[in-house]
Amino acid sequence: MARSFGTAEFRFLLEAIPSTLLLSLGALAGGAIVGLFVAILRIVPSRPLRWLATGYIGLFQGTPVLMQLFVTYYGLAVLFRIQVDAWPAVLLAFSLYSGAFLGEIWRGSIEAIPRAQWEAAECLSLSFPKQLWYVILPQAARISIPPTVGFAVQLIKNTSIAAIIGFVELTRAGQLMTNATFEPMIVYPIVAALYFILCWPLSLLAQTLESHIDVALGIKQHF
């Protein structure tokens, strides 16, 4: 017996948004830790460590997110012999995925810092870790904000894939409502609109920040 799409159904969709956002935020936090690690590994003098980081990034950038979800979900089930909850599996998978992409973004930011800054810090007798901490990372962090915000948008969209393994976020809520109301022409465009409302302001923010940073970098690159 089909329901018609009304306020209750719309509220069901709205109530799924916190799950989407929570998953995105959690993955961003987990990914930030992994990503910082990966970014630094990409620039250390040790070649095997660099290759490790490159391989990690290549693995997550060269495989579908859906496959990463499946492998993590069933991999965890294999390792712990029980049916894992959706949340830990999905959070872990998306954190590892974010870590790879953030690591690559942040490596780019670090490499955008002119070699001269490294030299100046080195010639003040600072060790490599101290060069990173006091001189390079603070500057790289500023440059990395626009692409990181851009990636956050990508992440919010990709959380929709969790719907495929039954995790209830906005897209899954849309599927459930479509099944209940038989109104795909109403439900899915509304779901798209809700994602748009979440993502578009962030996209605009990323673009604005990008142009500010370019101006600032332009002044710095004068030397």
């Binding site: 001269a116 800054q117 030299e119 100046a120 810090a121 080195e122 010639c123 003040l124 007798s125 600072l126 060790s127 490599f128 101290k130 006091y134 001189v135 603070p138 500057q139 500023r142 002044i219 710095k220 030397f223």
Partner: protein, 253 residues
């Protein structure tokens, strides 16, 4: 024993031989000005002195101890040998005071209070005492370069290297920097400079080193090198410079 001794160092970049069998000794308190055309190897030579470049052959000794490529040894070396770069390379995200206190506190373990006191002292030497809270982007080129000098001095080095530090400055800002260089020379600082400032070289240097095609072509006191160049290359170099640097013309003529 010389403070710094370079023995027959050679350095190649790919197919380009930048330095060929260069030997040089620097005594404490000596001011050495390295001059020459671009591509003569001046900057490469300077960068070998604090380990930014590494010669393939020959040895470098500081205080009698030879250079080793180990990070620990390089760190120790850089506490004694400071450098000021052509593009100043100040840290843009830190204020002037923090730019200067960073080295002493993070690399030498000085307390922040002591470092701040030291900062005031070195900023006084470069005439910028009132700029502690400013950020590099708020300063003129000449002011930034003087902060860079102060930053190097704050490490209390026994030798300071200067890599064409006025070459990137607008002409009207050069004077304030050269004035600081003269003061440092008078105060007995051991300095090795790659420079085009012939006026300073004539005035304050003890030894002029003229480089040509990766070798030391002539070496001696300013009066001798500028007044009676022994080689055609130095002669034509001075000739070329005279057309550019009026202050040198007044001295040499």
């Amino acid at each position: 024993m010389s403070l710094l001794a370079l023995n027959n160092i050679s350095k190649r970049f790919g197919v380009h031989q930048a330095l060929t069998e260069v030997s040089l000794a620097v005594e404490p308190g000596e001011v050495v000005a390295i001059i020459g055309r671009s591509g003569s190897g001046k900057s490469t030579l300077l960068r070998c002195i604090n380990g930014l470049e590494w010669p393939e052959s020959g040895t470098i000794e500081f205080d009698g101890k030879p250079f080793e490529p180990s990070p620990r040894r390089l760190k120790a070396l850089r506490r004694e040998i400071g450098i000021v770069f052509q593009s100043y390379n100040l840290f843009p995200h830190l204020c002037v005071e923090r730019n200067i206190t960073l080295g002493p506190t993070a690399a030498k373990g000085m307390t922040l209070a002591a470092a701040r006191e030291l900062t005031r002292k070195v900023l006084r030497m470069v005439d910028l005492e009132d700029k502690t809270a400013a950020y590099p982007q708020q300063l003129s080129g000449g002011q930034q370069q003087r902060v860079a000098i102060a930053r190097a001095l704050a490490m209390e080095p026994r030798l300071v290297l200067f890599d064409e530090i006025t070459a990137a400055l607008d002409p009207e800002l050069i004077g304030e920097v050269v004035r600081v260089l003269d003061k440092l020379a008078r105060d007995g600082m051991t300095m090795v400079l790659v420079t085009h400032e012939m006026g300073f070289a004539r005035r304050s240097a003890d030894t002029i080193v003229f480089m040509h095609q990766g070798r030391i072509w002539e070496k001696g006191p300013p009066a001798k090198l500028f007044g009676a160049p022994a080689t055609a290359e130095l002669d034509s170099f001075i000739d070329a410079i005279l057309f550019v640097d009026p202050s040198a013309r007044r001295r040499v003529g």
